[in-house]
């Protein structure tokens, strides 16, 4: 038996009788052919032996033109082989496949190797093509797996997200991860706001300075970011890309090697994210060192399509909510009209309750419930005779008894509405006091639901600053002093603090409502209390701070 020619790889021999023949398969692509695959392709040709990865033969690669058949008539001079007494026959690969070499011992000159060589070449070529095809299919499978996982992940998390900006944030983070991108950009549909997710996963926001971004990318850092002017570097091809997206509305890859910034080069991929009925936001993925391929575009396309559906669903839900809220507000305003002195009271209480919850860092859902509870807390007054409601002087014990029945009546009116279930307790208990002197149940301290305590404080404030049948409106300073006086006995002291904090920011945070409803009553002076102790503890930038549930709030501040 001839000495094995390989130092690594596998050598098969066809047995003692024909021990001196060898078939080598080599070339740059030979390593991609697993041995198993070769064996199955050479099955039925047991006399052929496959020799993989022979280092001696690697030197032969591309010494001849592709597809050429080298025979004794046109010998290939390979001293290493000739020294060992072999005559090499080579079928050089076509189309990037592996080369096939048959070594015939010089001692058997009369055997014609050519037909066998042709056959093996063909088989190996086929095997190579199948392998290529398999690799391509495997790529496709891997990409599909990644896509499916993206959709699983996003839909699993969507259940807890009811805020469009959260969905957007998650989508951008996910894209950054999926493409191992250096940057992911997001431009709002009106092209005024930009967000960038960095390779490290940090998010920055900025506002476009010019009204027309095509004039050139010039961006401001986020206002309120401790005066820090963080420059967001934008891809230079941005204006053309946005124009092309406007026309095509599908994912595109910008031309190769577009200058990304002064520090380096990168390619970028862009796609539309439908957010409004007419407009679309633009999402850009920038990656240095590794260009995007067609498969990447497919992934981005499906991610953005999926994201668009979620965002448009959220928008529809939001519209429905707004419609029902506005309908209820109209009805409640009609009820308020019954009492000449309380016009607009419920709407203001709803608003003040919500902004207090916002200031306290409560979850958006709770803020919404506070607004509903505020809006509806007095609907029970519908059953109170107008002579009692609008009585100019002080009330008799009997009349006061009628007034005290209104929280329970509000509760009874709202109870059949299933979607209002979360606000029922706030409505029922909005006249309870921490010292137990309130009604209807005389609850004390923390027995009173958080939302009810908030409604109570803002209800008292709005009543004090409104003109009533029995007195004129107090100014804000006087009303606040009364709140402070009652803090701890009639009113929850922490809520009073938080409400004062929210009130002081009001002209800045909600200038429109401030101007419409409260500008006529003068502002108060003095120090603002520490805003939102919960948020401070989290040490996060405000826009990313986790919302707080009612229980968490009690736990962390109580």
């Amino acid at each position: 038996m001839a000495e094995s020619m390989t130092t690594s790889g596998v050598v098969h021999r066809r047995g003692p009788a024909a021990a001196d023949w060898s078939v080598g398969i080599f070339g740059p692509s030979a390593v991609q052919l697993p041995e198993q695959c070769l064996r199955s392709c050479l099955r039925g040709n047991p006399e052929m032996a496959a020799m993989l990865g022979c280092p001696l033969l690697k030197g032969l690669v591309r010494r001849t033109r592709p597809g050429a058949l080298i025979s004794e008539a046109e010998p290939l001079h390979v001293p290493e082989l000739c020294e060992k007494g072999f005559v090499p026959w080579l079928r050089s690969a076509v189309n990037g496949g592996p080369d096939v070499l048959v070594l015939r011992p010089g001692a058997c000159p009369n055997v014609n190797v050519a037909p066998a060589l042709e056959l093996v070449s063909q088989l190996v070529g086929d095997a190579w093509r199948y392998e290529q095809e398999n690799n391509g299919l495997a790529d496709e499978v891997l990409r599909n797996y990644e896509q499916i996982n993206l959709i699983f992940d996003v839909s699993a998390q969507i259940a807890i997200l009811n805020d469009a900006s959260e969905v957007r944030r998650m989508l951008l983070m996910k894209l950054r991860y999926l493409f191992d991108a250096d940057s992911v950009f997001y431009f709002s549909p009106d092209l005024r706001m930009v967000q960038e997710v960095s390779h490290e996963g940090g998010i920055r926001r900025g506002w476009v300075k010019e009204s027309d971004p095509r004039e050139g990318p010039s961006f401001n850092a986020e206002p309120g970011g401790q005066g820090e002017q963080a420059e967001i570097m934008l891809p230079r091809e941005l204006p053309q890309v946005i124009e092309r997206l406007r026309q095509a509305r599908r994912v595109l890859v910008s031309s190769d090697d577009v200058a990304y910034d002064d520090a380096g080069h990168g390619t970028s991929m862009w796609g539309p994210l439908s957010e409004t009925d007419s407009g679309f936001a633009t999402v850009g993925i920038v990656r240095r060192n590794k260009p995007f391929i067609a498969g990447d575009m497919l992934v981005l396309d499906s991610a953005l399509t999926f994201g668009s559906h979620i965002l448009s669903n959220l928008r529809l839900v939001e519209q429905l909510k707004r419609t029902s809220f506005e309908a209820v507000r109209a009805l409640v305003n009609a009820i308020d009209q019954k009492d000449t002195y309380t016009s607009g009271h419920s709407e203001r209480v709803g608003f003040l309750a919500r902004i207090t919850g916002e200031y306290m860092g409560l979850a958006p859902q709770l803020q919404q419930e506070l607004e509903w509870a505020g809006l509806l807390h007095d609907v029970g007054k519908i059953g109170i005779p107008e002579r009692v409601l609008n009585k100019p002087g002080s009330l008799t014990a009997e009349e006061f008894g009628i007034i005290k029945g209104h929280p329970r009546r509000s509760f009874e009116v709202l109870r059949p509405v299933a979607s209002l279930e979360p606000v029922l307790r706030a409505v029922l208990h909005h006249h309870e006091c921490p010292d137990g002197s309130g009604y209807p149940e005389g609850l004390r301290g923390d027995e009173i639901p958080l939302a009810a305590r908030i409604i109570h404080v803002v209800d008292v404030f709005d009543a004090l600053t409104s003109t009533r049948s029995y007195r004129r409106a107090y100014n804000v300073e006087r009303a606040m002093n009364i709140l402070k006086q009652d803090a701890g006995t009639k009113l929850d002291a922490r809520i009073v603090d938080q409400f004062i904090g929210a009130w002081q920011l009001l002209p800045k945070t909600h200038p429109q409502q401030y101007a419409d409803w409260f500008a006529s009553i003068s502002d108060i002076g003095g120090e603002a209390p520490a805003p939102n102790p919960v948020k401070q503890r989290e040490q996060q930038p405000a826009q990313l701070a986790a919302p707080v549930s009612a229980e968490q709030y009690e736990e962390q501040t109580g």
């Binding site: 398999n134 499978v141 891997l142 599909n144 797996y145 990644e146 699983f152 998650m170 999926l178 996963g201």
Partner: protein
């Protein structure tokens, strides 16, 4: 580079996993049932075991228990299972120091899991329940 054993009875999935891990520079040994996996683990002592749960003959968790008791694992194993069974499997696999990944797997997550497992020491079996790493939105 590590030597990784992939035990998965669905040959196509095994093929895809092998290809993916090979591209990451690893050497992959593929077997299609639990018993062969056990034999190969004893003979070959690969660095890492990546196994499906449902396999003919011996299932992935039995395999895991056996190789763990024989001390054949040098790194925490990775278990693949369908999304529907994930919760049930996690408790048992967790006790064996393995991390569970849902199928169809995310190639990126799987690669990270392999790297994490290779970076970790031999698993402690028997007592502790290790919560598998949840997929993170915010990379650390």
């Amino acid at each position: 580079m590590a030597r990784i054993m992939v035990a998965e009875d669905d040959r196509h999935i095994a093929r895809v996993i092998a290809l993916w891990l090979q591209r990451a520079g690893h050497v992959v040994i593929t077997v299609f049932d639990g018993r062969s996996a056990l034999e190969m683990m004893r003979q070959d002592r690969p660095d890492l075991l990546l196994t499906d749960v449902n396999m003919p003959g011996m299932d992935g968790l039995d395999l895991l228990e056996t190789v763990q008791s024989e001390g054949l694992l040098t790194h925490p194993a990775i278990v693949l299972t369908s999304r529907c069974d994930q919760m049930d499997i996690e408790a048992r696999a967790g006790r064996l120091g393995a991390v569970v990944h849902p199928k169809p797997f995310s190639p990126l997550h799987l690669k990270e899991a392999v790297e994490a497992a290779l970076g970790a020491g031999a698993p402690v079996g028997g007592v502790e329940f290790q919560t598998p790493p949840k997929q993170q939105l915010t990379p650390a």
